[in-house]
Symmetry: C2
Subunit: 126 residues, 2 copies
Amino acid sequence: MADFESIAKQFVEYYYKTFDENRNNLAPLYRDESMLTFEATPCQGTSAIVSKLSELPFQRIEHQVATIDAQPSNTTGGIIVVVSGALLVEEERRPMSYTQTFQLMPNDQGSYFVFNDVFRLVYPAA
Amino acid sequence: MADFESIAKQFVEYYYKTFDENRNNLAPLYRDESMLTFEATPCQGTSAIVSKLSELPFQRIEHQVATIDAQPSNTTGGIIVVVSGALLVEEERRPMSYTQTFQLMPNDQGSYFVFNDVFRLVYPAA
């Protein structure tokens, strides 16, 4: 089995590639018990989460990952993944900083699903 | 028992107050299984973590918390806490943005310890 850092890196690459191409395709990564807190708005479950992501008011988006940190989150294979990076939306040329924290849990198919997902824009400190 | 959001808020207030006053006093919040990844440098265990924090090259520090997000991280009382904010070190007047993710686990005394801790400075997107 791959180590948690490799899994985190693979997950992050897949997640943002899918998000930037067609975020409806993120549905298989979530489950009914999954939680998303997006800019302080909480939602739970695949359907609510994918609706929330799909309804974000932009068509074109590009995530540029700057850092990925990972740690085992329990003794049963969970992984905490913390990402920081930049977001470019629509034709805007000025990126915004963001941070996103995931907890991945192993599923029964030898892969992972997203149990926790917290997204925040990070504004420049005043 | 307090809900996870209240616990997260109380923890964050206590953590940074203690950090900014005397970061050696953070030791009781960690355990031997605790993990810290500080700006990509990993360490594990109370002693290694508190040494790392104590050796950071500044005397005066002030954390200014901007956002706190929390979610249950498992079915046994764990809590993921994601903080974003600003750091002021020494006499520097220009704050730096940071993000810090914790996973708190319940201990046997009706309180919590830090199982995961990931700290990153967030630089303004280019």
